[in-house]
């Protein structure tokens, strides 16, 4: 929608050309959202009682906590893993960097269900990870890695990594290596150069990657439902349960709308904090 808005500003005459796309978005995106929003305040009876119930009860509060906690943790861990990978991609010679890219993109393009089931197999009690940890003597008995939030976090970090690596790579690649040489001659140790120069310069990439990962995590369904089990429900699972099993469209709509508002708020925050820097 943003691209349509900017296109309009640039070339008003292009509006006609954009009409099919606008109509498509209206019919299949805006209308359903509005319908869902309407149902959330009319179903089963008019009023804000769906929202009151959703935001007021500790049961639902637990779901919100799970969702935000896991999403935040996933974002943090993803950033920590993605940063060195993006840095390596930026400074590697062309060929090895290309191979690493291919590996990252290939995993991204592999079917999501397949990848999640693969994690289920690896993380189970007799799975390769538990056996490895046992064989090196780190643990005595297998630890529970599926059907809880640990499994969800591991699976989601893996799935989200490319979405963090790519924007980070884009930003880091533009940093002149001579700036880091200058920092070194100025007396900055590697750690100081990282904290005082590299991280601030990479901040827009961390922000846009982090936002993407966080927002995607908030609404993620497949991985939490397969690796998390029913006891540790997250928001997307809750919406599916409300709509599919309980046919409670009002409550499902309210939850979906809360998710949408949070997402848009985060996006607005990111625009405000980092957009001027990126265009500078």
């Amino acid at each position: 929608m943003v691209t349509i808005a900017t296109t309009q500003r640039r070339r008003r005459s292009g509006l006609g050309m954009a009409m099919p796309a606008i109509l498509l978005l209206l019919a299949f995106f805006v209308v359903p959202v509005v319908m869902l929003l309407t149902r959330s305040v009319t179903d089963p009876e008019p009023g804000l009682h769906n929202y009151a119930a959703l935001l007021g009860s500790p049961t639902y509060g637990r779901i919100f906590f799970n969702t935000f906690f896991v999403s935040g943790l996933v974002t943090l861990i993803t950033a920590l893993i993605a940063f060195p990978i993006a840095w390596a991609l930026a400074i590697m010679p062309r060929l090895p960097a290309g191979i690493l890219f291919a590996v990252i993109l290939l995993s991204m393009w592999t079917n999501l269900l397949t990848r999640t089931y693969a994690w289920m197999v690896m993380l189970q009690q007799t799975g390769i990870i538990n056996r490895m940890l046992q064989s090196i003597g780190l643990i005595d008995t297998p630890i529970q890695l599926t059907n809880n939030l640990i499994g969800v976090t591991i699976g989601m970090v893996y799935i989200m990594l490319p979405f963090m690596i790519l924007p980070l790579y884009g930003v880091i690649r533009k940093i002149d290596p001579a700036i880091l040489q200058a920092a070194a001659l100025c007396g900055a140790s590697r750690m100081q150069a990282l904290v005082r120069v590299l991280l601030p310069l990479a901040a827009p990439g961390i922000a846009s990657g982090g936002l993407m990962v966080f927002v995607m995590s908030l609404g993620y369904y497949v991985t939490p439902s397969l690796l998390g089990g029913t006891a540790n429900m997250m928001l997307a699972e809750f919406i599916v349960q409300q709509v599919q099993s309980l046919l409670n469209w009002g409550m499902g709509g309210a939850a979906a709308f809360v998710l949408l508002v949070v997402t848009l708020a985060l996006y607005a925050l990111q625009l405000r904090l980092f957009e001027p820097r990126e265009t500078r």
């Binding site: 002149d176 001579a178 040489q181 920092a183 070194a184 007396g187 900055a188 140790s189 150069a193």
Partner: protein, 362 residues
């Protein structure tokens, strides 16, 4: 013998098969301004990067006040450097950029403030503390970079073609600034450039680099008047090289015979030489006298005027020798021949015996 302030001792750097620098040997005095001059790929930047600690030499040593610095990592060498590209930290203001080296040294706030103020005053950018680098011109950015490199009083300041991205007028302006700053601070400067004018304008001494080796070290005047190799003669100042063969050789003096049979006698010859070896006679255009009559035997050549260009303070006359080699002479404004000669005129050049030199072709 006293220990030299900075001693670059036999530095050699090999990348795979390529020898970037070889046997680079140089001593630099405290507060000296020494320039590495040479074409790109001559090893001057490699030498500078080894000094900065970005590269390790294959062999050799670098000693500052007698202590080897090669094992000290870049960030502990205390060396200052201004780079070819603008390397200010784009997310920090000018003041924060200059304060950066002091902050990482965990200096006190008051001390940092004072040093930053002094450093910015030195490069005449007082009051620019809060400006962002992106809001400054290239010349201003390089001055901030200079302040940042000087703020911690480095024993040596390295400058790697810092003005190459600037236009000519700005370049000359900042050259004067650099000279003034060198005089005011007394910092030892190693400067890399491929621009001979810049080298002559700035330096106490110049080391001419070619193919990874130093061809000659000396003051600008020494290099201009007494180039040790043809490369130096060609690189510093304009010169005419007249090709001939050695006719007689005695010690390091020789006479040359040109293809038209004319002989230049008793010139110093560089690069050894045996009779009949190919050699070139070097003449500086402003030392070539143009006359209607031939000069004394052995210091004169018949020439034909090819072209005359008036350039204000001098008139450049392009001449052709009997064997069709071109050279140019400069006539100062008001010279009696100016206005009196034209294309196709047959004239003579002559030179004082002490200004000509010959380089034997190896």
């Amino acid at each position: 013998m006293t220990t030299p302030y900075l001693h670059i001792d036999g530095i050699r750097k090999v990348y795979g098969e390529v020898v970037a620098t070889d046997h680079v040997e140089l001593t630099i005095g405290e507060s000296e301004f020494l320039t590495f001059l040479g074409p790109s790929g001559s090893g001057k930047s490699t030498t500078l990067y080894i000094l900065a600690g970005f590269q390790d030499p294959t062999a050799g040593d670098i000693r500052l006040r007698g202590q080897s610095i090669l094992r000290i990592p870049s960030h502990k060498r205390q060396i200052g450097m201004v780079f070819q590209r603008y390397t200010l930290f784009p997310h920090l203001s000018v003041g924060e950029n200059v304060a950066f080296p002091l902050r990482v040294r965990r200096m006190g706030r008051a001390e940092i403030e004072e040093k930053v103020r002094n450093a910015l005053a030195l490069v005449r950018l007082s009051g620019f503390e809060d400006r962002m680098p992106s809001a400054m011109s290239g010349g201003q950015q390089q001055r901030v970079a200079l302040a940042r490199a000087l703020v911690y009083d480095p024993p040596v300041l390295l400058m790697d073609e810092p003005l190459s991205a600037l236009d000519k007028k700005l370049r000359e302006e900042i050259q004067l600034e650099i000279r003034r700053i060198h005089q005011e601070t007394g910092v030892t400067i190693l400067y890399v450039t491929h621009d001979q004018d810049e080298a002559l304008r700035l330096s106490d001494r110049i080391a001419v680099f070619n193919r990874g080796r130093i061809e000659q070290v000396g003051t600008g005047a020494e290099l201009y008047a007494g180039p040790a190799t043809r490369f130096v003669a060609d690189f510093i100042g304009d010169s005419a090289f007249l090709a001939g063969r050695l006719a007689t050789v005695s010690g390091n003096r020789a006479s040359l015979r040109f293809p038209d049979g004319t002989v230049a006698t008793d010139v110093p010859v560089h690069g050894g030489g045996t009779v009949d070896q190919e050699a070139e006679l070097m003449l500086r255009p402003e030392r070539i006298e143009l006359t209607r009559e031939p000069g004394p035997e052995g210091t004169t050549l018949p020439v034909t005027v090819q072209d005359i260009t008036f350039l204000g303070n001098n008139t450049t006359v392009v001449l052709r020798t009997g064997w069709q080699q071109e050279l140019s002479a400069r006539l100062s404004f008001g010279h009696p021949l100016v206005g009196g000669i034209g294309r196709g005129d047959n004239l003579h050049i002559r030179w004082q015996p002490d200004v000509a030199q010959a380089f034997a072709t190896p």
